[in-house]
């Protein structure tokens, strides 16, 4: 099941592909500017390439092959049609600087996407350019800063984040030159309002919240939170990573948020691609509209679509990418949204929530320790394995690896950090009840094994291409590029 590094398949002088370029053209570049030796790249045949990467692909888990209940990541089915249509040759071959006359088809899609994103968030203006959630966060916080700056309110450089927040939230605060101020979560999973009241003040730029939070519960006091922050002069940032849970149920705008990013690669099912690309489009209310990053797509009278740029939005925080963000990903989200329609979107949150609550109850019934089990799960929920770990020594990580052997991708582990030995489980709406039952059975099976044969659980995974990897060695004896045979340990 293992596959050599492609450089090991290479042989000097092999040149089997049907190069795009058959002849070696002459050139007029001074020798001094040229490289002495060719770069080290593999010399392999097309068949070797196809075989190598096809085999590599088979070493992966993926949505297309396994259930992937990765909390906070919304690993749902990515419809094939979205990829197919986004890859129509006319779209692929359109140069980003090509004239808008020959881009009306693309631009119309982008304009309508903006409109649909307004319709699902309640916001009044959208910019599609951020290339992932984190860049959306950046745009959002940068807009908040720009807003305060425009009001000559220069002291506001603190961004409040709950302790359950995703790492990108505090990291974004830093990227924007702000300071992250952490507030605790109350015992019922909601933000500790008193703690919040204590930290807000004249230095408060804003607060970043995910709602429902990554604890899998809906922040019930969201209106109070908004009230507290707004009256302190701060703005509210909505981290839209969990929008899948409330799609068509509640508008982030109505909750009091001033700015939101939406991870199209979560809620709107664009692929995760082994790590990306995603898209972190941002929406704002009127307060922040002037500061949106450019470009934005505008419509002129006669259904003609144009780019709005720095000229149109002189207060814009500027550009975050060379052109228009992850355009092809935006197309995929557009297609997906048109396939769902409004009713389909409401079904997304309905069934994502149903699946999560069902699985949560099954696990509660099976005696698992579920965080906030007295509350409704949103589209995800947390199992704490602290008790089992204490009893058997088997950790959340051991469970994760043992799940792999049973054909399931592991849930998110050890996040959010405030629940010990946690698994954050998000089944999504595209999985069947039968698969949820099988997953619950697998967890029960592992727990049984933890009690009867813990070493066997610790020995997992056994059916993967490799067994547990030595992460410490990876970080100590850095081997980040192929130079020859690895030393055996």
């Amino acid at each position: 099941m293992s596959e050599p590094v492609i450089f090991e398949l290479s042989r000097a002088g092999r040149r089997a592909p049907t190069h795009a370029v058959a002849e070696v053209p002459a050139h007029t570049i001074p020798e001094a500017l040229l490289r002495d030796a060719p770069p080290v790249l593999p010399e392999v045949s097309e068949l070797q390439v196809v075989r190598h990467f096809t085999r590599l692909s088979q070493l992966n888990f993926s949505i297309d092959t396994e259930f992937y209940p990765l909390g906070s990541c919304t690993m749902k089915y990515n419809p094939k049609i979205c990829n197919r249509l986004a890859m129509l040759p006319e779209f692929l071959e359109r140069h980003p600087l090509g004239d808008v006359e020959r881009g009306q088809g693309f631009l119309e899609c982008m304009f309508e996407l903006q409109e649909m994103l307004k319709a699902v968030t309640g916001m009044t203006a959208i910019s599609l350019t951020p290339m992932a959630g984190a860049q959306g966060e950046f745009a959002g916080v940068a807009m908040i800063r720009a807003y305060h700056a425009a009001r000559q309110d220069h002291e506001r450089c603190e961004i409040i984040v709950p302790d359950a927040a995703h790492g990108t939230n505090p990291a974004t605060a830093t990227m924007c030159g702000c300071t992250a101020v952490e507030i605790p979560t109350g015992p019922d999973g909601d933000v500790d309002l008193d703690a919040l009241r204590r930290v807000v003040g004249p230095r408060t730029a804003g607060i970043m919240l995910t709602n429902p939070s990554t604890l899998g519960v809906f922040e019930r006091h969201i209106t109070e939170v908004a009230e507290i922050v707004h009256s302190a002069g701060g703005l509210l940032y909505y981290d839209g990573a969990n929008l899948n849970a409330i799609l068509g149920r509640v508008f982030p705008a109505d909750m009091g948020f001033d700015v939101i990013h939406v991870n199209l690669h979560k809620t709107f099912s664009t692929p995760h691609g082994g790590g990306g690309p995603g898209s972190g489009v941002v929406g704002v209310n009127d307060r922040l509209a002037a500061f949106l990053p450019v470009p934005i797509v505008g419509r002129t009278g006669a259904d003609r679509f144009v780019w709005l740029t720095e000229q149109d939005l002189p207060q814009s925080i500027g550009r975050l990418s060379a052109f228009m963000g992850n355009a092809g990903i935006l197309l995929r989200a557009y297609i997906y949204m048109r396939l769902l329609g409004g009713d389909g979107m409401r079904r997304v949150s309905e069934y994502a929530t149903l699946n999560a609550n069902y699985l949560m109850q099954q696990l509660v019934k099976a005696g698992f320790d579920v965080a906030f089990s007295e509350r409704r799960a949103s589209h995800e929920f947390i199992v704490s394995l602290k008790g089992i770990a204490g009893e058997t020594g088997i950790t959340a990580m051991d469970f994760a690896k043992a799940l792999l052997d049973r054909g399931f991708h592991a849930p998110t582990t050890y996040f959010p950090a405030l629940v010990a030995e946690c698994l954050l489980i998000e089944p999504t709406e595209t999985e069947t009840r039968q698969d949820l039952d099988a997953f619950a059975a697998a967890l029960i099976d592992i727990r049984d094994q933890a009690r009867t044969d813990p070493d066997e659980v610790r020995a997992a995974p056994r059916t993967m291409p490799v067994r547990r990897l030595d992460d410490v060695r990876a970080a100590r004896q850095l081997d980040l590029a192929w130079q020859g045979e690895p030393e055996s340990s």
Partner: protein
């Protein structure tokens, strides 16, 4: 119900397990006043057949132009195997490889990618991608500030040869942290002016930033600048077109000790121009700077049986571990694009990439040469890689429009960002252009010029 597998029986049984009567109850923690019961702003659902008709019609309005635009996005021939494999569900629908044992395919591929990028740039360590070339440059500036222990400056000396949009993006992204860009002018050959550089002697900067080739297509002579920067406690950031690296001296070999960070746009490596994205930013650096690098990094290690395997490593730089002290807030990157690029580089190899580079160069040369024979037209700079600045005796906007009407994207009008060049157009004829395309361009230009007035 599209994409939702539940039968009525399933729903009834599930609600019973949960102990509620309807799915609506599951939302009962949402304050009443906030609940909505429809999304009226969303058009009704289309079938697959319906969306196919719609998107084909939309695409049909966009196709058919023959592009001589470069300016940061380059249309190259992409072998069919690249996307056939990159689109496989196991790559396309996988998540970030946090569970290493279940993600060896993606992890090994990234390790191979990292190796290829070190080979291309001549530097030591690569990350697993950033968003795009522009944001990679912004991250490189921030990284240089963190990494340059000798200078405490947040200022960058940035050549005017760096893509103006990249400079804008670096300002937008770095601005919050006080990054400031100071411009280095170009000399008459279109390269960074070394004399101008020396005027900054004594001032503190975190880094000197050069593009190779420059936005104007010219090729930097980077050795002296690199050595000067190092002598003045500045790092060197190189923004290199990766196709060019098959041919041009790599940043790792600039000057005595090489540049410190290479970054740029990975799009030319197998990614379609596709309206501007998704592309990917690459970043490679010298080993001592490694811990300041943003983004994911894959390392090779062994499993408990001693077999080699791959895993994400050095995660303590990243936001999910280090939170507000991370080297960047990046999380989702451009993995699928890296997949395509790795396959592309494997298929072409060094020789294939070199030929592609040479073909682009030769095509642009041919085009520039033919254009220069027209009256009132000249080539601004002698030495260039695969883009050339063409000077006209009248404003180029009208020419661009005239060619546009004939389905030819004439190039990039430099008047906004480089007014000092006069009536100048940046043209690029990659390997995707044929000699017939070039002839059609020249003929269209000739007739457009004939019809218009010299300025």
């Amino acid at each position: 119900m599209p994409y939702i597998p539940h039968t009525d029986d399933d729903v009834a049984a599930m609600l019973a397990v949960i102990g509620v009567d309807s799915t609506a109850e599951l939302f009962d923690e949402i304050p009443d006043g906030l609940l909505i019961d429809a999304l009226p702003g969303i058009p009704a659902a289309l079938t697959e057949a319906g969306i196919t008709r719609l998107m084909r019609a939309r695409a049909g309005r966009d196709g058919g132009a023959v592009s001589f635009l470069g300016a940061g996005a380059y249309e190259h021939y992409i072998p069919a195997a690249v996307w056939d494999i990159a689109n496989r569900g196991e790559f396309y629908s996988a998540y970030t490889p946090y569970q290493a044992e279940a993600s060896q395919g993606t992890l090994q591929l990234i390790y191979e990618f990292q190796t290829m990028m070190t080979g291309l740039t001549g530097l030591d360590v690569s990350n697993a991608s950033l968003y795009d070339g522009a944001s990679a440059f912004a991250e490189a500036c921030l990284m240089a500030v963190r990494a340059n222990r000798k200078s405490k400056s947040r200022r960058m000396l940035v050549s005017r040869g760096v893509n103006p949009v990249y400079r804008a993006v670096a300002r937008a992204i770095g601005g919050g942290q006080g990054i400031e860009l100071v411009e280095l002018p170009l000399d008459p050959a279109g390269r960074t002016d070394f004399d101008a550089l020396t005027k900054f002697d004594g001032e503190a900067f975190a880094a000197v930033c050069l593009a190779q080739p420059t936005f104007l297509g010219t090729i930097e002579e980077a050795d002296a600048i690199t050595d000067w920067a190092h002598a003045h406690d500045m790092l060197v950031i190189s923004i290199c077109n990766p196709t060019g690296l098959a041919l041009l001296r790599p940043p790792g070999e600039w000057g005595e000790t090489g540049a410190d960070i290479a970054c740029g746009e990975g799009q030319p490596l197998g990614i379609p121009v596709s309206s501007g994205g998704p592309y990917f930013g690459y970043m490679v650096c010298r080993k001592p700077l490694l811990r300041q690098m943003p983004g994911r990094i894959v390392g090779r290690t062994v499993d408990i049986e001693g077999r080699p395997g791959f895993t994400l490593t050095l995660q303590a730089r990243e936001q999910h571990i280090r939170r507000s002290k991370a080297t960047s807030n990046i999380c989702t990157n451009q993995g699928l694009m890296v997949t395509a690029a790795t396959i592309y580089l494997s298929l072409l190899g060094a020789e294939g990439l070199r030929r592609t580079a040479l073909q682009c160069h030769a095509n642009t040369n041919l085009l520039a040469g033919k254009l220069a024979q027209l009256e009132g037209v000249s080539v601004a700079f002698d030495t260039y890689f695969h883009e050339a600045v063409i000077r006209f005796d009248r404003p180029v906007a009208a020419l661009v429009d005239a060619l546009g009407e004939r389905g030819i994207l004439a190039g990039y009008d430099l008047s906004e960002h480089y007014p000092e060049l006069g009536n100048a157009l940046l043209v690029c004829a990659t390997d995707a252009r044929t000699h017939e395309d070039i002839d059609a361009y020249v003929a269209a230009t000739r007739s457009a010029l004939d019809r218009s007035q010299a300025a």
